[in-house]
């Protein structure tokens, strides 16, 4: 008799149970990427909350499993391994730096677990060295060949810059790639790269030696294919060395927290980014962010990309009618996903097709939306 009661309660329990599917989040919560990483995890949390509250995936509840890879690719591999083997995630969102995703790509593709990079822009994230698309690697952002072209065209055509210098990070896939694509395109347009100097990101904090040499070459603009803190320190030190009228332009490594470090030195600098802060579609998300986290959504690009990446996975799971990575992947390759900041359709290299670049101009203490830009040949 007790056995039948036990059996009945078990069966009853099963009938009410929903599948819990785990999505891992690879974020740099400490180290140089901390500002972006924390913003992304928060954005993802908002998405997961909404998915579960509104039951966006029938019969499925999502659980977010965030891991800190300490802004180092080696630790990203360790974190991803844990996510796959211990937590048994079906998909991983993040990271926001190409080096981490390039390092983890062999792992996720071998295990058949989806990984969507947020702001990872280096081509090798979704395509290997032989040119083959990695089956389980995707990304939310445009790629660096495109971004390098955007910067080159903007500087040359819009701002009339014929002589540019580059200060890049030798230890970063992203920085090296962006520098290469920018330089190729800039030279093609007829521009001249008058100085090209490197530093070791994560280690070097003083760029005065390099900036002194750059100033000597007298460029009209300095292109900075770097991330966050390095950008802020470089611009600050350059202004201190007297480079008042030089134009500084960089890619999507810009973050609002840079103002804390560089202050008024940032005025008049240009940056490329993925999301327009003034986009009316995104405002409800920001309002929710302020409410839940009692903080301003400063790294708004990362927040939106993270949120949209998780939502994309949810939509794909719903369309596939399954929580198996292989089926989700197929749905991702075929589908069109209407998200907050854009509608995404992946091409054969698992990159989003036809995304606009957003140009930010730093003015009056913040990065302001300046315009959308698409390079025309």
């Amino acid at each position: 008799m007790w056995l039948s009661i036990l059996l009945l309660s078990l069966l009853a329990g099963q009938a009410c149970a929903e599948t819990v599917v785990k999505i891992g989040y690879l974020a740099g919560l400490t180290g140089d990427l901390a500002a972006y990483g924390q913003a992304e995890v928060n954005g993802a949390k908002l998405a997961v909350e909404e998915i579960n509250a509104k039951g966006l995936i029938p019969g499925v509840k999502v659980e977010l499993v965030p891991y800190d890879f300490r802004s180092k690719p080696e630790d990203a591999v360790i974190a991803v391994r844990k996510m796959i083997e211990q937590d048994k995630v079906v998909a991983i969102v993040g990271a926001n730096v190409s080096a981490a995703n390039i390092a983890t790509a062999p792992l996720v593709n071998k295990a058949g677990v989806i990984q969507i990079g947020t702001a990872t822009t280096n081509p090798l994230v979704t395509v290997d060295e032989k040119g083959q698309t990695r089956p389980y690697s995707f990304r939310m952002a445009f790629i660096d060949p495109y971004q390098g072209k955007v910067i080159a065209h903007y500087l040359f055509k819009k701002l009339g810059v014929k002589r540019a210098a580059v200060l890049y990070d030798v230890a970063s896939d992203y920085s090296q790639g962006l520098r290469q694509f920018f330089t190729e395109e800039f030279k093609k347009l007829g521009g001249e790269v008058v100085a090209d100097l490197g530093f070791r990101g994560g280690v070097d904090v003083d760029f005065r030696a390099q900036l002194t040499e750059i100033a000597k070459a007298n460029p009209q603009a300095v292109m900075l294919p770097n991330i966050g803190k390095d950008l802020a320190l470089a611009v600050k030190q350059a202004r201190e060395l007297g480079m008042k009228d030089t134009i500084f332009m960089g890619g999507d490594g810009y973050g609002e927290f840079m103002w804390e470090i560089a202050g008024p030195a940032l005025e008049g600098t240009y940056w490329v980014t993925h999301v327009a802060f003034d986009d009316p579609e995104i405002q409800p998300l920001f309002a929710r962010y302020r409410e839940v986290f009692k903080d301003e959504p400063k790294e708004y690009g990362n927040i939106v990309l993270a949120y949209d990446a998780v939502m994309l996975l949810a939509q794909a799971m719903k369309e596939a009618g399954s929580t198996e990575p292989a089926k989700i992947k197929e749905a991702m390759e075929k589908g069109t996903f209407k998200l907050l900041h854009a509608t995404i359709k992946f091409d054969e290299q698992h990159n989003p097709k036809d995304k606009d670049a957003v140009i930010i101009l730093c003015k009056d203490g913040a990065g302001r939306f300046h315009e959308r830009f698409r390079p025309v040949d």
């Binding site: 901390a34 924390q38 470090i261």
Partner: protein, 292 residues
């Protein structure tokens, strides 16, 4: 030509930051004959105290700085009391002190990671950084201030060592601690004073570095360069530490500017290796048998 002058000035500014660290380091070495790897921790503590004094307590720069010096000095004394004194008491090998210092450096760094998070913080711009024209090149007023403060503090230290009784005791102990103890020097007190001074000096450097490069728990890593500077100048010799620091600062800037930034670290550590092979006592140091 002006870029050479610029790099030299950059190097002197960097060297000043190193000098403040290297001197404290060398001071501890001269008495206890071990390299205190936790020295970087005092730097970070000074930086954080300054940050919180400026932001949360709304103090001015001078009171915040004095608080940092006192705080870092006290934490240095505390570190010595907790980690090193028990080992010294037992008369164990200086190697054990070194290992204990490595442990303390990890403890201090991670204390800050857990307490305040790994995110870096920007110290409010209380030290002016506006460019000034000097001999035809531009230098940041910050660099001049660092140079001035560092030189005055080093001068102060020199006066302390030459003109005061405790300074005499320290100099005596740097020759032989045991004999100095036999002469009536209270060794424990002496060590506490030395650590306090070392911690305070490191914290000044910490404040400058934090203002310039942002504040984060791993800021102490720069002590490795100061360590190289101290060895090159002569471990145990204070003028040596200062000389080594400025030499290193200038060398780094020249190499990074005229050759490349990647080669810079190679050159720095090559200098260390060459020094240890060719002239292990450094430029101004004395020959000692055991170097830990």
């Amino acid at each position: 030509m002006s870029s050479l002058l610029q790099q030299l000035l950059n190097g002197l500014s960097l060297g000043s930051a190193y000098a403040l660290i290297a001197v404290g380091y060398s001071l501890v070495y001269s008495i206890l004959l071990f390299s205190n790897f936790a020295h970087g921790g005092f730097l970070v503590i000074g930086g954080y105290i300054c940050y919180y004094s400026l932001t949360k307590m709304g103090l001015g720069l001078l009171p915040a700085a004095l608080l940092s010096l006192a705080g870092a000095g006290m934490s240095a004394v505390l570190t010595e009391r907790i980690a090193y004194r028990p080992i010294r008491r037992r008369g164990a090998l200086t190697l054990y002190l070194l290992i204990a210092s490595m442990g303390m450096s990890i403890v201090i760094e991670n204390f800050w990671v857990i307490a305040v998070g790994g995110r870096f913080r920007a110290i409010p711009p209380v030290i002016p950084t506006s460019p000034i024209s000097v001999f035809g090149t531009t230098v940041s007023s910050f660099d001049l201030i660092v140079l001035a403060v560092a030189l005055s503090l080093l001068l102060g230290l020199e006066l302390f060592l030459r003109r005061t009784r405790w300074g005499l005791a320290i100099r005596a102990s740097s020759y032989d601690v045991r004999t100095a103890a036999l002469m009536g020097v209270d060794t424990d007190r002496l060590v506490a004073i030395v650590f306090f001074v070392a911690g305070a000096l490191a914290s000044v450097s910490g404040i400058f570095l934090a203002v310039r490069y942002t504040l984060y728990p791993q800021l102490g890593f720069i002590t490795i360069k100061a360590f190289v500077a101290a060895v090159v100048g002569g471990l145990g010799s204070l003028p040596g530490a200062v000389l080594g620091s400025y030499l290193l600062g200038v060398l780094e800037m020249l190499v990074a500017g005229f050759i490349s930034s990647q080669v810079r670290d190679i050159v720095v550590f090559l200098l260390l290796v060459v020094t240890l092979l060719v002239r292990p006592q450094g430029l101004l140091g004395r020959r000692l048998e055991e170097k830990v």
